[in-house]
């Protein structure tokens, strides 16, 4: 009997042991510390995190930290390859012999669409919350601004592109779409910006410039219309910004150098839209990784102004720029400490040309060579709005007038402030210039005022200046093989056409 009981106890023990763990799980995953989309957007603040994510993803190595902006810089006539030991992909972008497998395009293309995806997620999240209009629409407006900003870059770079304006949860649902014509993309950009203009506040909290405001959206509307050569609308929008400059908190900073002295204030009045990098912080996945200082810095120079001499202007850019112009001094490094001794560019180690100074000279709190800089880069600044207004007005009023000249002279007056000391160069623009002459003057002013700020290539493309800029007798950076039928657009990444053949045809010539 006891034996039986013992045995029974033993069986019970074993089966207990056995079943101890079985059945206490249904194999459903209950992740902790993972952000699941279905539960993420519960409050407006959650929507805000996706909007912030989109901003943050613009401040990445792939976009404003290096790849995308370097491609724009090299494509223009204002920066050439310095060290020819730099990767072929950069030389190909610069030399107009890229193919559809170019690695720069391959790496920045997906990032723009990831920014758009984040903006779309925020929009869908905000809509799902069914907030009152005055609470929900400003959120949607901010996200739509970011979407417009991204597509504006994409459409200028690639022309017809796939256009996505909803949050994708099943990528296969867009696997077979065709490209959207550039004209339609522009219409969508304008719709987004108009919505943003309507619903965004005049200023963001603390007047911070890395978030879009009503002024930001309006300024971009002016820029988009200018690109579309709709000068009347461009002028109207620019004028709206200028008329409201006090309300929006806009103005020109007194010293041109202060635009490029990290850490720039987060509410710098000249910034219309700033891409904010925080010094010495590695955000992971390329986030917050600004590499423009070393990309433009001098190879062999003493830290922290040393770099890799990748994007270096041709000598002509330096030589043709009047040395009395303070902006030339701010824009160029023509001498540098090398092993403790100040050396002219003629004895620089690698590339014996003056280098771009706007990024490397005052990178602020940063890593060796200025990486992980503390810059807030101006994607657009108020000087550009003035220039847009001047150009658009000249187009619509068939020549210069006091108003358009006035805009230019505001910029020139600021340039005469040489770090607190007033000079008399550049002098004011005289009255009486004809339309073409004045517009040439504005384009030249844009080239110098906004030098190395990634606008020149778009100006060349917009005004179809390529033949002159690269093949003309006064070409700053001659490229005999520039082909206007091919080179105003970059090729879509080959892999995208492989995954979705409906994206064909590839841009001409690739």
């Amino acid at each position: 009997m006891t034996k039986m009981k013992n045995r029974a106890t033993k069986y019970l023990l074993f089966s207990l042991l056995g079943t101890l763990f079985l059945g206490c799980t249904d194999l459903e995953e209950k992740p902790v510390g993972i952000l699941a989309p279905e539960s993420l957007f519960k409050t407006p603040k959650d929507v805000q995190t996706a909007i912030f994510g989109a901003y943050g993803w613009i401040a990445t190595e792939r976009l404003y930290g290096r790849q995308f902006v370097t491609a724009l810089l090299l494509r223009s006539d204002m920066a050439d390859i310095g060290d020819r030991g730099t990767p072929a992909e950069r030389q190909q972008v610069n030399d107009f012999n890229m193919d559809d497998n170019n690695n720069m395009v391959k790496v920045f293309w997906p990032y723009w669409y990831q920014v758009i995806s984040s903006a779309n997620a925020a929009i869908s999240g905000a809509e799902a919350l069914k907030l009152p209009e005055n609470e929900g629409n400003p959120l949607i407006a901010e996200a739509r601004f970011i979407r417009a900003f991204s597509y504006y870059h994409l459409v200028r770079t690639f022309g017809d592109i796939p256009y996505i304006d909803r949050f994708i949860t099943d990528p296969n649902s867009v696997k077979e779409i065709s490209k959207t014509p550039a004209a339609t993309v522009y219409q969508n950009i304008i719709a987004d910006l108009q919505f943003a203009k309507q619903w965004l506040p005049d200023q963001q909290p603390n007047s911070v410039r890395s978030r879009a405001s009503k002024g930001t959206a309006t300024s971009y509307l002016a820029s988009v219309y200018l690109t579309m050569a709709d000068y009347q609308k461009s002028y109207t929008e620019a004028k709206f910004v200028i008329d409201n400059e006090a309300k929006f908190g806009y103005g020109l900073v007194a010293d041109f150098q202060d635009l490029f002295r990290a850490p720039e204030p987060n509410n710098l009045k000249e910034h219309i839209f700033a891409i904010d990098f925080l010094g010495q912080q590695n955000g992971g996945g390329g986030a917050n990784d600004d590499i423009m200082p070393p990309m433009t810095g001098v190879r062999g120079g003493d830290a922290p102004r040393s770099g890799w001499s990748v994007a270096v202007p041709s000598m002509a850019v330096y030589n043709t720029w009047d040395s009395r112009d303070y902006r030339k001094q701010v824009s160029f490094t023509d001498s540098l400490l090398i092993k403790g001794i100040l050396q002219p560019y003629t004895v620089f180690d690698n590339t014996k040309r003056p280098h771009i100074a706007k990024y490397a000279r005052y990178a602020g709190n940063s890593n060796a060579e200025g990486r992980y800089s503390d810059h807030n880069y101006a994607a657009m600044r108020y000087a550009e709005v003035l220039l847009i207004a001047a150009e658009a007005l000249a187009e619509t009023s068939n020549g210069s007038n006091p108003e358009s000249i006035g805009y230019l002279n505001r910029i020139r007056a600021r340039a005469r402030n040489r770090a607190g000391k007033q000079t008399n160069f550049p002098e004011d623009v005289a009255a009486g210039l004809g339309k073409d002459a004045f517009i040439d003057l504005v384009m030249e002013e844009r080239r110098l005022e906004l030098a190395f700020e990634y606008h020149r290539w778009y100006d060349i493309k917009r005004r179809k200046l390529g033949e002159k800029a690269f093949k003309g007798s006064n070409a700053l950076e001659p490229h005999a093989n520039f082909d206007a039928n091919r080179d105003y657009l970059m090729p879509l990444p080959r892999v995208e056409l492989q995954v979705n053949p409906n994206l064909a045809p590839q841009n001409p010539g690739y």
């Binding site: 992740p31 990767p87 994708i168 867009v174 010495q280």
Partner: protein, 1024 residues
Amino acid sequence: MKRYFYLKSRSPHRLMVSVLCQFLYLGLLSAMSYARPLDVSVGGTVMGTDNNAPLPGVSVVVKGTGQGTTTNTSGEFKLNVPSPASVLVFSFVGYLSQEVTVGNRQIIDIRLEADVKALSEVVVVGYGTVKKSDITGSVSSVSAEEMTAYPATGAVQALQGRAAGVQIQANNGEPGAAYKVRIRGGTSINASSDPIYVVDGFVGGAIPPPEDIASLEVLKDASATAIYGSRGANGVIMITTKRGKTGKPRIELNTSISSQNEINRLDLLSPTQFVTYIKEARPTYVTPGASTDWQDQIFRTGGIQNHQLSISGGSDAVSYYLSGALYDQKGVILNSGFKRFSITSNVEVKANSKLKIGLNLFAQRNSKQQAYTQEGSGGLTPGVVASAFKFEPDQAIRDPQTGRFTISRVNDPTDNPYAIATQLQNESVNDRVQGNLFAEYDIIDHLKFRTTLGATTNSGRSGYFAPTTLNVGRSVGGEASVNGSKSTQLLNENYLTYSRVFGGIHDFSLMGGYSYQSSSSESWGGTGQSFITDAVSYWNLDGSSVWQSPNSSLVESQIKSFYSRLNYSLLDRYLFTANIRRDGSSNFSRNNKFATFPSGAFAWKMSNEPFMQNSNLISQWKWRVSYGLTGNQAIAPYQTLARFSNVFTVIDGVPVNAVRPTTVANDDLTWETTAQFDVGTDISLFKNRINLVLDYYRMVTRDLLFSVQLPQYSGYATQLQNIGSVENKGFEFTINTRNLVGDLKWNTDFNFSMNRNKVLTLPGGTDLEYSASPGHLVGLGSTHILREGYPVGSFLGWIYDGVYQEGDDFLPGGGFERTPGGEKYRDINGKDAQGNLTGQPDGKLNSDDRTIVGNPNPKFIWGLNNELSYKGFDLNVFFQGSQGNDILSYSLMELNLLAGNNNATTEALNRWTPANTNTNVPKASAGRSRRVSTRWIYNGSYVRLKNLALGYNFPSALTQKLGMTKLRLYASAQNILTFTKYPGYDPEVNYASSGATDSNRNLGLDYGSYPNAKSYTVGLNIGF
């Protein structure tokens, strides 16, 4: 012994060492008191009938008591028995046991009959054991002797070259570095192809040190692995640790000391040659005029101390095995090393005639001091080895003016290799504690129940510090990070086994059970920059003034399973095996939590048929055939779920909460399934003097867990889907021969494996390019391609056609040279007006002209082991090799690009100059772009003398005087000879090949790895 430990041990180990020593000491005391003197003394010699040689190690036990001993090296034994009526049982592996009544004899000489017929060794398979002769699947066994032939970082290293179909590669030669194991090739592309390890029945248990391993089995075909279902596709390595044997306590001490040096060096340019070369690329270069051999500066003579002390024994009721092992390696690069210290306790108790209970305990500490190599990107901190190759030889260690470490003057301002080796701190400590409890109960005759409960936990900490003495640390005021991790696994298995022979001819065994396994892993860490002083290393993160984002994570998963196996043997001639396992896994998508993995095998013991019974030639001949399905669920948990990820975003100067969508859900994702067919034969000839095993297999892995390229405009990069298939097929051959069996014995083991890996289908049939290269070698773009019909890991690049000469037509192309002495590439493809590739040259060079330029998979691999012994002497010669694999050398690409960015190998002396035009080496040119091409693809075949050992067993006359049962002294050398045409420094390369996806796709890449070492070892094996 004890003194040694105290002298050599540094503080972290001291406590454990002292505990171990006392533990062993107490064990010894108690065991000695237990061995009380008995009444009758007998002794004698045990010989084998097969060769008339004394048999050492034969177990001699007094029947029914558990008292016993083993024979010494001369086959002699001596023991006391309670009475003349006592019966002695002599048993030894490979021989038939014999029982002898003592009677009045004092000397009993015994001749044991070799067990020719059965090879009665048992082999451990999943949830049971099988007689070797009854195996129906493909299983390779590796013996304890082979595992300990030379000092090894761990058991996996010791397995290299030992088993057919098993490829083991060092990830690099770093002390303590992990090894990559492939059983019959890589079965996947994105999921891990690592086998699973089952240690004493614990799936995923800690791998014990080689010295504590009794046997190791590699399960290869589906009939053997399917019992592990969704984790069996990559093969299973079954490890059994040592147990106590009945008899008086046995103490064993195994100790060895090795001296190590780097296996090879590169021939680099001398300072003078370097200056001449660099001035051709950079005419304004001014040399500082120093002279430093950087390889001299970073390499040193390293060494290994490897010690193990064990005590084992047992009675009828209790058996025990206690062991402590210490492996202490000083790396051949300054400031690198690895220490492994472990204790093992295996105790089994027979509670009564029906119940057996056992507990295995294992604790191990690994500490590693890493030299910085295997860098993902050598930006400002290149790896020590890569830097020793490329750093300018005309610079001194310190700048004579500033007194600081020198910095490269020709390219990126990187620190010199000596500075990196001595200043950078990179350390990790891992503690593993594991317990595995089992109970086995004979419920009724033939029916057994076994239950196990195991828990293993692994805690790790790694620390990193770049002080301000380094360029990289100086710019940020010093950088430090500390990361912690902790993982826990629980496993409970329960199964019943029913075994019975019916009617003398139907041998029947049925096993069935269920298991539950859960695992969780945590990690956390922080990084800080800018410290008050370098002295705080990484132990004062709170003292940093620039904080980087901290991190933490938790991952949990569960598997529950049901499994069963039927073995049926008819007339000991026809063997059938059927397995089935049903697994449910939390890792998989909500629509596919469970799957079933069946397999079956049939074997025919042809030699047991009447017509072959009495063959003198053939002792055994068996045919095997098997087919089955196994799975691979080795993707990370939560991967089927959609998710948002954090984005580091700054608003108004401060980081804010920010996210973006990164992953889309896949509700239907399931495991990869590998269908494997295997046919093989086992043949033993001339009374087992020759044993042959041949296998052919074909595995097709379908439903590959594939990161399918999504349209990137969707905002997502890839999505895991079950698409595509990969094939591995091959042939394996093992032969063991006993060539000489007299006084002079000579055994040879040879194994040979060839595997052919091929991608069968890819999503949409489209090629998939990917990149795997050091990040600072910018501009390479895609370096690899996955293409249907070609092996995984194929290199993608241009065809190098040598050097342009004066008067050649220069092909145009962005970034391609167009001058005499420049690199010349072949134009092989172009596009038509519609943008389609034509396969015809188009007169220009671009990415269309790339093609598959190399295959890193070997045509075959092999191992050849020869053992000779004569009287007390033994000699072991072990060769291992790989044939027909290509290597893509990023090291040589960086060095010999000749763009004036760094030092070069002596190949640069043959560079093109107007005076030296008949060459394949281009001229020095500062603007040259890097690209993958046939110029950097090399034949990586090699033959390596892995081990050469000479040992001497001291005669028992001497050892007995010393109170020992065994005393062996040996000297050995590892990796002293390598035959290869590879111009890099070591053909055993594995850059960027860790992690599930990378280890499948990134093969045969070489970049600045920690070198393998050649070693000279002396050692002692002592038994008491």
